[in-house]
């Protein structure tokens, strides 16, 4: 073995990390090479010097606490993302805690949220009583516009139309002719709205048909009623005005514009007021 190689192996030799055959070659070389022997001594001394002299730094006491605190913080941060199930799950028995509770919880939360959303949607889509009534009126008006459905009794005379209802209804609807004001009476018919037979009267305004439905105020609200202000709505392009006068409910519907319909409603209410105040 050359000195160069001997110097390469020396360090590993002293560490006991040199293979058996290299170790044998090196010790043979050391027998005959004084220079390499002195190098071996130097290295031995160095190892002793480093082992005895170099500082082995011990971890300061506070470091342990810092690490514990950091781990705790880490766990709290982790726990915050899976907080709701964790506290409960930990107390239960073995196999149970091994379920992926975070995912199960997420799934259940999603399901109940979806169920609530569906319920809410159904609830909101459910038409109120008023909406349902107004839809009925629109349907009735629309049906009345079909051929031969508009009038059962064709007359422009209120004194013909009004008696016609007698015997067909358990009340007597007010019938006015408004031809002078541009709304001639065309006729009357029976219709079925709001779970009862009602009086329906057809009026005309220019080329437009107006339907007026009249029925008595029903149920408990009967005593409480007086005159209410007209409420205008719009359904599928039809204008509708509804109001209450005396003990009667009035609903007017037509494809005329809102102003004309409001005028029609006003005329009827004026007539009604005049009739009741002057019996």
């Amino acid at each position: 073995m050359e000195c160069k190689q001997s110097q390469e192996y020396m360090s590993a030799y002293l560490d006991g990390e040199l293979g058996p055959s290299e170790s044998a070659q090196l010790s043979a070389h050391l027998e005959e090479c004084r220079q390499c022997r002195s190098m071996q001594d130097e290295l031995r001394a160095l190892r002793a010097l480093v082992a005895g002299g170099a500082t082995r730094y011990a971890a300061p006491e506070h470091l342990k606490h810092r690490i514990r605190a950091a781990i705790k913080t880490e766990q709290q941060r982790e726990a915050a993302t899976r907080a709701p199930v964790r506290a409960g799950a930990r107390e239960r028995a073995g196999g149970f805690t091994r379920w992926p509770w975070a995912w199960i919880n997420l799934g259940l939360t999603g399901l109940s949220t979806a169920a609530f959303a569906v319920t809410l949607t159904l609830y909101l889509q459910q038409p109120s009583g008023e909406d349902q009534l107004e839809q009925e009126l629109v349907a009735s008006h629309f049906r009345a516009l079909m051929p031969d459905h508009l009038s059962d009794v064709v007359s422009t005379d209120q004194h013909t139309v009004k008696p016609w209802f007698a015997g067909k209804l358990d009340y007597s609807p007010p019938v006015y002719d408004l031809a002078q004001q541009g709304f001639p009476l065309i006729g009357g018919r029976l219709d079925y709205v709001n779970h009862r037979p009602v009086a329906a009267m057809a009026y005309q305004h220019r080329k437009h048909i107006l339907n007026l439905y009249v029925w008595p105020v029903g149920g408990k609200s009967a005593q409480a009623t007086t005159t209410s202000t007209p409420r205008a709505t719009s359904h599928q392009g039809f204008q509708m005005v509804r109001w209450r006068q005396g003990d009667m409910e009035f609903s007017a519907i037509s494809d005329v514009n809102g102003q004309d319909l409001a005028e029609f409603a006003r005329l009827l209410r004026d007539h009604g007021a005049a009739t009741t105040s002057a019996p």
Partner: protein, 183 residues
């Protein structure tokens, strides 16, 4: 470790695994960073990382595993420029003898002084070694790791561990005995 262990169990398990090697981890960190503050931060970061990846520890040499994490964390922080004092030179008066003074109060003053001198010069020489040589020496001489373990921690081949250690010792000799081994 089990993913579904309670937090307390997991922390306790980690503590039993890793805390016995805190001194070794700190010593390596201290020699890598060459100052106390960075060593503190480095070990804390490394231990937190070890805690996070404790699930991936599949048995074997815990100390080598922890030292590997300390070392990797150090080089990551160097790369990210997080180390505050990595280039600050060793302050002998402040840090040099603290660890020894506590253990040596029963010796006579002359031998304390002699050992202090030896300790001081060895520390200084080690400080001056390039990082790659210093770390293999620390792992060999202070942690008494085998070449195989050093290769695992530093992620270099065993042959390189061998030649790097030989070179490191030669350099150390040159620092300690100026004019003698400086060939």
């Amino acid at each position: 470790m089990d993913m579904f262990l309670g937090d307390d169990e997991k922390a306790a398990q980690f503590e039993a695994l890793a805390m016995p090697h805190l001194d070794a981890a700190y010593n390596l960190a201290r020699w890598l960073t060459r100052n106390e503050h960075d060593a503190d931060d480095l070990v804390q970061t490394a231990y937190l990382r070890a805690f996070r990846f404790a699930d991936s520890f599949r048995g074997g040499d815990v100390r080598a595993w922890l030292l590997t994490i300390v070392r990797n964390t150090y080089y990551t922080s160097l790369r990210d420029g997080l180390s505050r004092h990595s280039d600050v030179s060793f302050d002998e008066e402040l840090h040099g003898d603290a660890a020894h003074d506590e253990r040596q109060d029963s010796e006579d003053p002359a031998s304390i002084a002699a050992r202090r001198d030896a300790s001081r010069s060895v520390n200084q020489a080690l400080e001056q070694l390039p990082q790659a040589f210093r770390e293999v020496l620390v792992l060999k001489e202070m942690d008494d790791l085998s070449y195989k373990q050093i290769a695992q921690v530093t992620e270099i081949p065993i042959g390189t561990v061998m030649s790097r250690l030989a070179r490191a010792r030669k350099m150390l000799l040159a620092y300690l005995q100026p004019g003698m081994a400086g060939d």
